[in-house]
Symmetry: C2
Subunit: 432 residues, 2 copies
């Protein structure tokens, strides 16, 4: 399951030159899946390589694939999302990855010249890669938990299970504008309905379910990684003013449902494998996971060493061509629970996970002050605004702010595996 | 929108005799939509009438429909769910209802004898009628809110907005077994993972979204009823032990996601229209709804006079052929918020509702002790078990208990409009 193979060999070069750039998110060792269209064509399955997209349908038309890889590509091209591919489990996608690797390998001879199947990324429109049936958002960063509670100690339930809530699937989108929502808030017991003043981002990573499980059949933690097809970036936009007011007793609702922005490419579990690492040990006064969530595999390899950052570009910065400024630098490896433990907990009551379901990590904050993965932590709920280099200050997002999250896995001896980015721009509510 | 027409005429008789029985849930004035199959055939669209199902595909094959009604039936028959019909808005379904009414009317002459399009209900398997993208569960009964909090006064947020949480769409099912889930609970600070001992039902009614809205485009309360295609019964199974432990700060998760049981037929907004009534007035010390949720139409017609009941049949009762015993009798008209207000609140932040989304009312308890719509209220969280006629007692559900919810709209001068029922049987977890 966790084994590496030739597709992880960092010495291999790609026939697509841009993929060999050390700063490129999509080298030959990454090969993330996505859905694209060109000039309004039907959305179709592709794989990112350098600054290009491999059109899988063209490979099929040219009989450039065989065996399980061909089956995988046929599934990927069978509809407007990747769900049929993801439902096959990870082996066919792995076979496809290997044949794509060979077709792209600069030192490998192939009958088919893959250059003929490439579409420049800049000419393509990207679409949601999966039909996401249910979207679940977890709370697995101890640092986020504590900072949001004035550094309170971890609650017993946080240490015993990966806390989560069902979130809203309908409003998941790729890059785009976010209209500042109107919400109910309370001040001095007076409730009002007005544009939110506390629009926040939350920098997270999400896992897509590949093979699901039947209702009533929990997934054992040892098998859970095999149910994860791949990963993407998630910005779980949050409205802190109404979140507090609406949240008792049933949790966040409108404070989350107005939009979630994800990155377009699904970085496969196989591509991320070299960046698995040991989970951070629990503190001595913290209970070990209960047996059904305890896993040596998770302990040894359940943390994902993915560097995450958030940048902001305000309207003023954009007008003056000032590039976006980084406001957060964190790493996914700090999570208290592994994705395998999230999958197992989620299904432990018999709940069925379906192909394409998205499980997000929760705000991936680190221990240091510069690794706060949302404004509410960074600015202590807006009370201590940050100052940007151009002198502007921000407690939360303002109209015109573009917030971009990005992620990349880096390790000595490994090729860079990037996630690309996801950007949302908060825009004024025109109806006000 | 709220007008009645000939399809509400209670004097009309149906060519299907069973539909004329005063106790029949499905008279000619109801005509709810569903999805059925026979002997493993492909799921197809049907309409309940008496003890029969009208096979809409047979009507189309025989050119028995015309105009907008034919368009509606074609949409209904275009896939394995009713979503395409529901997406058309309510006018085509209304046209279809009218033509079905004429075909079924004992006093009306038609070229096509609808008897040729009937399938006995007892020969059919029923399926989920819609692809439910997102499932939202509200908390709109003041009596449920207060009883669950030791008769605490209503919270400000309860009075200001219809409280809700995103729930789990994947585990919504029709009648069937519910495997007793294992969950984490805490006692004396010791956390354990074991079969739940507090499995509860919640008797609710759900509204299906017909026409949805675009992301960023809230639905005004005056237009909200037009976005509701119809209604069904919802049993929002709940696990009270883990609900309390897992719920802070993000609300219920595994305590709800293991299963939700709904009734198979969608009773249309048009069929339920004669049973609209005035919402119960707020108490003098309670704030009026904010302007975007305030609606004279909702105030005058937003309450639905639907009698709801829950019955239990234990394994012992079943073994002795003792019929199910009623444990709750309540009415949906007691809700604090109308479905139109739920739709408007849900979309007020710009969240897009999609065709087929299900919005459930929350536990529909009434003021009287015999109208508690869940065990947690009825037995004060299990501390005061009820005694059944055969001497058995129940604080929560036990293995082998079948819990059935049913609903019917009744009013003098109107034909009975029934919802049928939804049954779940709690079964032992075989893995323990």
């Amino acid at each position: 399951m966790m084994s590496l193979n030739k597709t992880h060999d960092s010495s291999r070069q790609c026939v697509v030159n841009a993929a060999n750039d050390a700063q490129c998110d999509f080298p030959i060792q990454n090969l993330p899946f996505g859905i694209f269209s060109v000039n309004g064509s039907s959305p179709s399955a592709g794989v990112a390589i350098g600054d290009q997209i491999i059109d899988l349908a063209v490979l099929l038309e040219n009989n450039a694939l065989s065996g399980e890889a061909e089956v995988a590509a046929q599934a990927a091209c069978s509809g407007p999302t990747l769900n049929a591919l993801m439902a096959l489990g990870n082996a066919p996608a792995s076979a496809l990855r290997e044949q794509l690797f060979d077709l792209l390998d600069a030192d490998s001879a192939s009958d088919f010249d893959i250059i003929n199947a490439l579409v420049p990324m800049q000419d393509a429109d990207l679409h949601l890669p999966a039909n996401i049936g249910d979207f679940t958002d977890f709370l697995t960063s101890r640092h986020h938990f504590s900072r949001m509670r004035d550094k309170a100690p971890l609650a017993l339930n946080f240490m015993s299970l990966p806390i989560a809530y069902h979130s809203r699937a309908s409003s998941i989108r790729l890059d785009g504008d976010i209209t500042r929502p109107r919400v109910q808030t309370v001040e001095d017991d007076i409730v009002s309905f007005a544009p939110t003043t506390k629009c926040d981002f939350e920098l997270e990573v999400g896992a897509y379910i590949g093979c699901g499980n039947q209702l009533g059949a929990p997934i054992a933690v040892e098998n859970a990684d095999a149910h994860i097809f791949g990963f993407c970036l998630v910005n779980d936009w949050s409205l802190r003013d109404t979140q507090r007011f609406e949240g008792a007793p049933l949790g966040p609702f409108l404070s989350k449902s107005f939009s979630t922005t994800i990155s377009p490419w699904i970085v496969t579990e196989e591509a991320i494998r070299p960046f698995r690492t040991t989970m951070e040990p629990r503190h001595s006064n913290e209970p070990a996971p209960l047996p059904h969530l305890a896993s040596q595999i998770a302990q040894d390899t359940g943390a994902l060493d993915i560097t995450l950052e958030a940048t902001i570009q305000t309207a003023a910065m954009r007008a003056e061509n000032v590039p976006a400024e980084r406001i957060t630098l964190t790493n996914l490896k700090h999570l208290y629970w592994s994705f395998s433990q999230m999958v197992t907990h989620h299904s432990s009551n018999g709940c069925n996970l379906r192909t394409g379901d998205l499980l997000a990590s929760g705000t991936a904050s680190g221990a240091t002050d510069d690794s706060c993965a949302c404004f509410a932590e960074m600015t202590v709920r807006g009370t201590r605004p940050i100052t940007l280099k151009n002198g502007e200050s921000r407690g939360f997002l303002e109209d015109g702010d573009s917030l971009t999250i990005s992620g990349v896995a880096l390790r000595d001896g490994c090729a860079r595996v990037g996630f690309g980015s996801a950007t949302g721009t908060l825009v004024k509510n025109a109806e006000i």
